[in-house]
């Protein structure tokens, strides 16, 4: 115990994720309840790794149609046009709105890709019982939780465009299948980051320490 840290789980305590009360637990995972708020307690989120994997893999599969299929169809009397997320960004860029193009690129292309990549890396590192950069990986997880919501941006943009351009002689705009796939990717990655339990990143250290502690006690 070099830095004196112990985890709640090592000492048989469960921390409540709802009210933050610590409860001593001897009965095991299924019946444990918080002594203050009555919430079901788990040592770690149940099946965290396999659930996160399932959501991530579905997210990867839908990431392709989300970027290839059009998110928006624009039609006027003479022309019709379909826009993917990327072509919408290119349009903003070539029309001189560089800031806007940058914002939409970060929110719609970079953030979803970064989320999938970081969560995949975190899950694999936990499965491989990696000891590398625990603090850094915890911070990466917090970044994922923080930025995830911003990839909804393009869905909202299409929503407002559709609502304002209806019934105009100018043009008609409708939602494309790409937007449905894209929205699903956002929702899936949000669920994936909720299912992942960051405490798993630190667990191996706790096990090693308690083993060392036992050995020291015997010698």
């Amino acid at each position: 115990m070099t830095d004196g840290t112990m985890t709640a789980a090592q000492l048989g305590f469960y921390g409540c994720l709802i009210c933050h009360r610590v409860t001593e637990c001897t009965t095991g995972d299924i019946t444990a309840r918080c002594s203050r708020c009555g919430a079901l307690l788990h040592r770690r989120k149940p099946n965290s790794i396999s659930r996160t994997w399932a959501l991530l893999l579905t997210g990867y599969m839908l990431y392709i149609p989300a970027n290839v299929l059009p998110v928006m169809h624009t039609g006027s009397l003479f022309t019709s046009q379909s826009d993917t997320i990327m072509s919408g960004i290119v349009y903003l860029w070539t029309s001189g709105s560089w800031y806007l193009a940058g914002i939409v690129f970060i929110a719609s292309i970079f953030v979803p890709a970064a989320k999938l990549a970081i969560l995949t890396f975190l899950v694999i590192s936990v499965q491989r019982r990696s000891t590398w950069g625990r603090l850094d990986r915890t911070k990466m997880y917090r970044v994922v939780e923080f930025i995830g919501r911003w990839s909804m941006l393009d869905i909202f943009v299409v929503t407002i465009l559709v609502a304002l351009v209806r019934l105009q002689s100018l043009a008609t705009i409708s939602v494309g299948l790409g937007a449905v796939a894209f929205g699903t990717v956002v929702v899936l990655t949000m669920f994936a980051s909720m299912q992942f339990d960051p405490r798993l990143i630190w667990d191996l250290q706790a096990e090693e320490r308690s083993l060392q502690g036992n050995n020291d006690g015997h010698s």
Partner: protein
């Protein structure tokens, strides 16, 4: 050692002793730097004030149009409800539900439940159902996306500006004013404080 003096970090499970905080202070995990709890005198009073103001702005934001465009003398305005119902009619109910949940339903659930908790506490009444209410608040929190929606409206108006005359609606200003209030409400809302008040009343 009293068990109620302990706190387990939600990000790394490190067990630590609670310490009294100076006003406005925050306790962070010694191992992973996660925010554990905060201290804020009159925190619930402030949250209550911010939330009541946010409720008024939320109503305005949902009644009035967000924006309008004008092309060749035709004027078209749309409220948030118009936008969501149009998605539904157009044959994209899943997108309509996603937009409706993140911009209308989740925010009003948050505002409503915070008022349901804090108004009785303000008058020192013990209320039933604190546990499910705090649990629902914790569950819906990630799905409230007002600030993302606001940015989305701005981006779409910039896009339309090339084609038509664009005007910003009253609801857009209400959104702009509501977002900092919701952030301030969330910053001062400390469930720990509510738990303490509830246990001191019971």
């Amino acid at each position: 050692m009293d068990i109620s003096d302990l706190i387990a970090c939600h990000d790394c499970d490190c067990l630590q002793r609670r310490v009294p905080l100076p006003l406005g202070g925050a306790a962070r995990c010694s191992r992973c730097d996660a925010l554990l709890y905060r201290s804020c005198r009159g925190g619930t009073q402030k949250t209550l004030a911010y939330t009541v103001a946010a409720l008024f702005l939320f109503l305005i934001a949902n009644i009035y149009p967000i924006a309008g465009i004008e092309v060749q003398g035709n004027r078209q305005v749309a409220s948030l409800y118009d936008a969501v119902s149009l998605l539904w009619e157009e044959g994209h109910p899943e997108v309509a539900v996603l937009v409706g949940l993140t911009t209308m339903i989740t925010p009003i659930i948050q505002i409503g439940l915070v008022l349901f908790l804090l108004v009785p506490l303000h008058f020192n009444h013990l209320i039933q159902g604190v546990v499910p209410v705090l649990r629902i608040l914790e569950t819906v929190r990630p799905w409230s996306m007002m600030e993302v929606f606001f940015l989305g409206v701005l981006v779409s108006l910039f896009k339309l500006e090339q084609l038509a005359r664009v005007e910003m609606g009253i609801a857009l200003w209400a959104f702009a004013a509501m977002i900092p209030l919701l952030v301030a409400g969330a910053m001062t809302f400390e469930p720990d404080e509510i738990w303490e008040q509830v246990s001191s009343l019971s």
